[in-house]
């Protein structure tokens, strides 16, 4: 069926003529694809290519008492077996490059494993088969620990700690709260005045991206003291920075080549293969390939994480939604990866594309003993949109209104204030609903058919709520740090700090240290990559009550916040 383009919608608003849309255009990479010559990472041949395979955890959660690699080392073709201690800087969190979060994940686990498939050793051998045979000879003495696989069980006080950096199994936002908050207006007062209160519980299972090409990388020594790395990554510079950090090398010694990706869908940003392949190359001096096989791709490759949502709406008899309250749990799996960021995106998106005057959300990034989650197409949005739209249908049924008309009635219109305090513009939900109804032969009222995103928005609908109820629910202690999410940046000033306008005081120069003494006892020690302690003044003593410095730090947090979540003017 030919695609029909509705260029008439908003035609008076646009200055583009969309000449390219609706016309066939040749992709620049199509010739390579149909001839089989597009250079995927595994299409680079090297003499003497070595292969890396990992010994992986068979347990959801276990402490590593010891690892015996002696028999494996004697296997034919084995060049080297890497353990956690062989990784120069064996602790990272993916978004540390954005100063977001605390390093919480080893490249190769050396103390404990927190999900099935977590690597504890990597064999480098002359053939893939030899590497696999040697992996089978590695003996690990496990002390199996109790595990937790459900987000709501994981946040209970009696749950086992999944990730030692976050003892309560929740990511800590802004160094202050165990969840990401949205407060807009007063939902409880609105519920009391609403004609109906509609509640729902929704959840989404993890979803594997399942690219046809499995994740991987090949690294080889170059002749100029650099390492070339061919990779399937979707995020070339992100992977480069991550590899440089984990391997403690200057990034200009790493030469990354990518861009031809055999399907990614978000699952190729975790940057685990590049540092492993480069490390294998560094220790053997040989070209080294590290790739997931299909079983690893499905079991160990990070999926879109599971989510569970509780949604509560206050609705008037005429269908107007006057309050919406969310409690959400993202299943981050054993480590943070990108889930903390997904939640920032998610909360910015709430309450969906509707103008609702009172909105409340508590969204938790929860650690469980499941495979760490990562990006996938619209992550942070997809799961909650499923919950919101399923809930809209439930509201329509409760109030007795057509579900399409309910959406048109409550949709954002241009000029409306959104719950994250930005004015809506270029809104088009109403038009989408109208076209969908027309195409599917779904009858809607004349009033709904005549509604427009361009009319009747703004005015009173542009006003912030007269009063927003705030609270300190979920306040946590011990995570004060300089980073946006309480990240441990040690003595390294962040890029933002170079531009801060508030005069620095001695106590805050350089970047204030996280108050280690107030941190959880089992928090990991400072990273080896930090400058020697003598080069920085001692950190300020941990304060129990907010003082001027901390207040200023908090101001700075909010400024960092704007750099990540996009509060800058659009």
């Amino acid at each position: 069926m030919p695609v029909e383009f509705r260029k008439d919608i908003f035609s008076e608003e646009r200055d583009d003529n969309l000449n390219e849309i609706g016309q066939p255009t040749q992709r620049q990479d199509a010739l390579g694809h149909v001839t089989g010559r597009s250079p995927y990472y595994d299409d680079h041949l090297f003499d003497n290519l070595h292969h890396m395979r990992c010994k992986r955890s068979p347990h959801h959660h276990a402490r590593i008492r010891s690892i015996d690699i002696s028999a494996a080392e004697r296997m034919p073709g084995v060049r080297r077996i890497l353990l956690g201690k062989d990784v120069p800087n064996n602790l990272n969190t993916l978004l540390s490059l954005l100063d977001f979060g605390i390093d919480d994940e080893p490249l190769i686990a050396d103390k404990k494993v927190s999900y099935i498939g977590e690597p504890v050793a990597a064999v480098i051998a002359e053939t893939d088969r030899q590497a696999r045979d040697a992996v089978a000879k590695i003996r690990v003495d496990w002390e199996v620990l109790p595990h937790v696989l459900d987000v709501e069980e994981a946040v209970r006080s009696d749950a086992p700690t999944v990730n030692d950096v976050y003892p309560d199994n929740v990511f800590v936002y802004h160094g202050s709260y165990d969840h990401q908050k949205l407060r807009y207006g007063d939902v409880d007062a609105a519920f009391a005045q609403a004609d109906h209160v509609v509640e729902g519980r929704y959840q989404m299972s993890p979803i594997e991206q399942a690219p046809t090409e499995t994740c991987g990388a090949i690294a080889a020594p170059e002749t100029n003291d650099r390492f070339v790395c061919y990779t399937s990554t979707q995020a070339l510079f992100f992977s480069l920075g991550t590899a440089a950090k984990l391997l403690n090398v200057q990034s200009n010694r790493l030469h990354f080549i990518g861009g031809t990706v055999g399907g990614g869908f978000g699952g190729k940003v975790d940057s685990l293969h590049e540092p492993m392949a480069i490390l294998g190359c560094m220790v053997t001096g040989k070209p080294c390939k590290f790739m997931f096989d299909r079983e690893e791709e499905m079991q160990v490759g990070a999926p879109r994480g599971a989510e569970r949502w509780y949604v509560k709406d206050g609705v008037m008899n005429d269908g107007r939604i006057v309050a919406r309250k969310f409690t959400g749990y993202f299943d981050s799996g054993a480590y943070t990866r990108l889930s903390s960021y997904a939640i920032i995106k998610c909360v910015g998106h709430l309450p969906g594309p509707y103008t609702i005057p009172n909105v409340y959300a508590d969204v938790y990034c929860v650690f469980t003993n499941r495979t760490p989650a990562t990006a996938m197409r619209g992550f942070g949005i997809t799961g909650v949109d499923f919950a919101i739209e399923a809930h809209m249908d439930k509201v329509a049924e409760t109030v007795g209104i057509d579900p399409v008309e309910l959406r048109i009635l409550n949709a954002y219109r241009d000029g409306d204030m959104k719950a994250h305090r930005r004015l809506a513009k270029n809104t088009a939900l109403i038009e989408c609903c109208q076209v969908a109804a027309e195409k599917s032969g779904w009858r809607i009222s004349d009033q709904a058919r005549q509604a427009s995103s361009l009319r009747d928005g703004g005015g009173d609908r542009a006003q912030l709520p007269p009063h927003t109820v705030t609270d300190q629910n979920g306040r946590v202690e011990g995570f004060e740090g300089t980073g946006y999410a309480g990240g441990n940046k040690g003595g390294m000033p962040s890029p933002m700090e170079q531009y801060q306008t508030i005069p620095a005081t001695p106590a805050a120069q350089p970047a204030p240290q996280p108050s280690q003494t107030a941190a959880p006892a089992n928090r990991p020690a400072a990273q080896p990559s930090q400058p020697p302690a003598s080069s920085v003044p001692p950190p300020p003593p941990p304060a129990t009550s907010p003082d001027a410095d901390q207040l200023r730090d908090r101001t700075r947090h909010s400024r960092r916040f704007s750099s990540i979540s996009g509060l800058r003017r659009r």
Binding site: P24, Q26, R27, D29, A30, L31, G32, H33, V34, T35, G36, R37, S38, Y40, D42, D43, L45, A210, P211, T212, E213, T214, T260, V261, G262, G263, G264, F265, D293, R294
Partner: protein
């Protein structure tokens, strides 16, 4: 580990190489004789991206023992082009957006060629059946089916005899 000599025709050229016991054809094609057009997707016979023709029949090269192609004729995507000229299937895939990431494309092309070589005028259902062993994760099957149909039977880009 014993090495065995194997001789076969690859896209019309005679090839001779040594293979390990149990080595699969995909590995020998890619690493042994340097034809990188068949791709590794699963090594389990489920994704079809390693599909090649052995004596005209489609086979998953990842599940084919390399030594079994002794004396046989293997065709891969590298053998589709006629000099500088693309095969009609390649043209159709290129012009009709039947290759997004491109990773399943070599397998799809070989499955389609196997069909059209024996059944130049297939129905839509027969095309669907012919590529049912090939998984695509991003292009979408509709564009691929349409591209294959466009070079079948009496269509303007009629499937050329090769």
């Amino acid at each position: 580990m014993t090495k065995k000599p194997v001789q076969f025709q690859l896209n019309g050229d005679q090839k001779a190489t040594f293979v390990d016991d149990g080595q699969n054809l995909l590995d020998v094609l890619r690493r042994g004789v340097g034809d990188l057009t068949p791709k590794f997707g699963c090594a389990q016979g489920t994704c079809g991206t390693c599909t090649v023709l052995i004596d005209g029949q489609p086979h998953m090269s990842c599940l084919t023992l390399a030594e079994t192609v002794e004396g046989k004729s293997v065709t891969t995507t590298a053998g589709l082009e006629n000099g500088a000229e693309l095969h009609p299937l390649q043209k159709a895939f290129m012009e009709q957006f039947a290759a997004q990431c491109g990773y399943c494309t070599p397998g799809m092309l070989m499955a389609a060629k196997a069909l059209l070589d024996t059944n130049p005028n297939p129905t839509r259902e027969e095309v669907v059946e012919a590529i049912s062993g090939n998984i695509c994760r991003c292009t979408g099957y509709e564009a691929i089916i349409n591209a294959i149909l466009s070079v079948a039977g009496n269509s303007p880009q009629r499937y050329g005899v090769r």
